[in-house]
Amino acid sequence: MKPFYQKLCAAEAALAGTLLVLMVALIFLGGVARVLGYPLNWSTDFATAFFAWACFLCADIAWRKNSLMAIEFLPARLPAKAQRLLRMVNYAIISAFLLYFMVMGAWLAWTSRVRSFQGIPEISYSWVTASAVVGGFLLLVTTVLKVVDEVKGKRSGPATATDVL
């Protein structure tokens, strides 16, 4: 289980990084092509489709690394036991939310399968919607693993988020 999961995480990061680089390349090319008088209408469409996937994959990476911003200075003042309980309650609520997110996302992907994506009629919009389903699933796995860590008595580590501002 563990080695497989580690491979999955590596693949996730590699995919997210690749999508990011592709987004840069597509948008840059699109911009240059337009300035030169040959606008590419598909470059921004693909870039935004990749963006949806990159967002959810990056969100999962950030969640696993405890890098999502949170206000922890109040819980940090509680006794250790209460802190642990609070984290478990948080994980439970988050799991329920992600489950809802996945199920409704899957439903949307199913119903939108005939809707075509932006300017590209051959591609179904479901490819974009699917990012929410896969992203929701990955985030859920990460959350469950955090619970497992807590049960084993390991804390997955304090939040290490920094702002981008």
């Binding site: 948008i27 206000i71 609520i93 996302g105 990012s131 981008v164």
Partner: protein
């Protein structure tokens, strides 16, 4: 909507990541309105990621991380040293000058604070600067990063509030330089009292200055190119983000020749985490935003405020005080994402220019990163220098006062902010 706010506050205080808290609380609104389809929250989240304008955010985050690895810093440090070497306060002055120069290539105060501290922090302690003072200089200097173009704050505010990013970038130039002047003056005064001597024994020669300037030319040119590109409509803001990435890679590979495959990879990996944290928050905040628009929250707040006062200046001061207060325990980017949709319609009703408000807003939100109990830039600097927060808070007080004074001045004299945007882009 009141229950949404209650749920949000409770989840926040429980220490739940803000992104989840905002999404989950936003869903409460749909529980109260069973007539709305339950797929809307997911649809809203996905639609948010399909906004081409928002693509500028990940691209600028990546560009900033690449610039930090592109070898620009060492060149700019040389330039900063020859420029400020004779000023009272030595390395402290150099640090602020370096921040100013760096802020033209990076857009993030925390990245800037971390880099400056690693570069100059221990050197400052060796020269006899006290820990709290050094930490204060290093953290407050980074306030320039989001203000001098480009800045992630402007991009967040501009995309969320649909305000021209070109005008916002241009608006940051004079306030950025004013902040530099204010901080340099504060250092001169406090350094004299503390006996911190100048760094260089004698004035740098013209040749030295010219050489150092040439070394930093690619960094200094960058914001100019960005503004020209936006001014002449050659590029959209998202394309400018892609351009910034390419620019960083090209100068890192060819001009400074320090960018290696390993550091390229490191910059991308670091960006993934930053992008995840911000974009997930932004995407889920769309769920929350639906209820805000549905229940006309900005209109309600505006009506209430208009009854209280009809002075635009007073409204700005009240909003800034609110942001400073909330900013003491919440990250600046969260404030911009959450509060722009509420405050922007309000200030527009008062006839305040959205660019003027944006600049003041971003400045106030960033100042929150330097104040306890929670301040991201403060944490980074104090952690690296092993400086207790209490000591930092006491010794950095002069800097807090000087940047607050600049903010106040900018509120009351919008012309300072709007002069360059009007000059470059014309009056709106």
């Amino acid at each position: 909507m009141i229950w949404v706010l209650v749920a949000f506050t409770v989840l926040l205080l429980m220490g739940m990541p803000i992104a989840f808290a905002i999404g989950i609380a936003g869903c409460m609104f749909f529980l109260q309105h069973p007539e709305l389809p339950s797929t809307i929250p997911i649809q809203l989240t996905i639609t948010e990621t399909q906004n081409f304008a928002l693509l500028a955010i990940p691209l600028f985050i990546l560009a900033g991380n690449l610039m930090n690895n592109a070898g620009i810093t060492t060149n700019l440090l040389r330039l900063a040293t020859v420029l400020t070497g004779r000023l009272q306060g030595g390395l402290a002055q150099t640090s602020i000058a370096l921040s100013t120069l760096m802020s033209g290539v990076t857009g993030s105060s925390i990245a800037d604070a971390a880099m400056n501290t690693r570069l100059l922090g221990f050197e400052m302690l060796k020269r006899g600067f006290s820990k709290g003072y050094a930490a204060g200089v290093l953290s407050y200097g980074s306030l320039l990063a989001p203000i001098i173009p480009p800045g992630i704050g402007f991009i967040l505010y501009g995309t969320v509030g649909q305000v021209s990013i070109g005008r916002l970038f241009a608006a940051g130039i004079i306030p950025g330089l004013m902040l530099w002047a204010a901080l340099a003056l504060t250092i001169s005064i406090t350094a004299r009292k503390r006996g911190y001597a100048p760094e260089l024994k004698k004035r740098a020669t013209l040749k030295e200055i010219a050489l150092a300037s040439w070394g930093g030319i690619w960094a200094v040119l960058f914001p100019v190119i960005l503004l020209l590109g936006l001014r002449f409509g050659i590029f959209t803001p998202s394309e400018i983000g892609a351009f910034a990435v390419v620019y960083a890679v090209v100068i890192g590979l060819f001009a400074y020749r320090v960018l290696k495959a390993a550091s390229l990879r490191e910059a991308i990996e670091g960006s993934l985490v930053d992008i995840g944290a911000v974009m997930f928050l932004l995407a889920l905040s769309a769920i929350f935003g639906y209820g805000i628009v549905f229940e006309r929250v900005p209109e309600v707040i505006s009506a209430w405020m208009l009854e209280l006062t009809d002075s635009p200046n007073l409204v700005m001061v009240l909003i800034v005080l609110f942001i400073l207060l909330v900013g003491t325990f919440m990250e600046g980017s969260v404030l911009i994402i959450m509060l722009t949709p509420i405050f922007l319609p309000l200030v527009t009703k008062y006839g305040i220019d959205p660019v003027h408000f944006g600049l003041v807003f971003i400045m106030a939100a960033t100042i929150g990163n330097y104040t306890p109990p929670v301040g991201a830039a403060m944490f980074v600097v104090c952690q690296i220098l092993r400086c207790p927060i209490g000591v930092y808070t006491r010794e950095s007080m002069p800097f807090l006062i000087s940047v607050s004074a600049v903010t106040l001045l900018l509120i009351f004299v919008p012309e300072i902010v709007l002069w360059i945007p009007d000059l470059i882009f014309g009056k709106p």
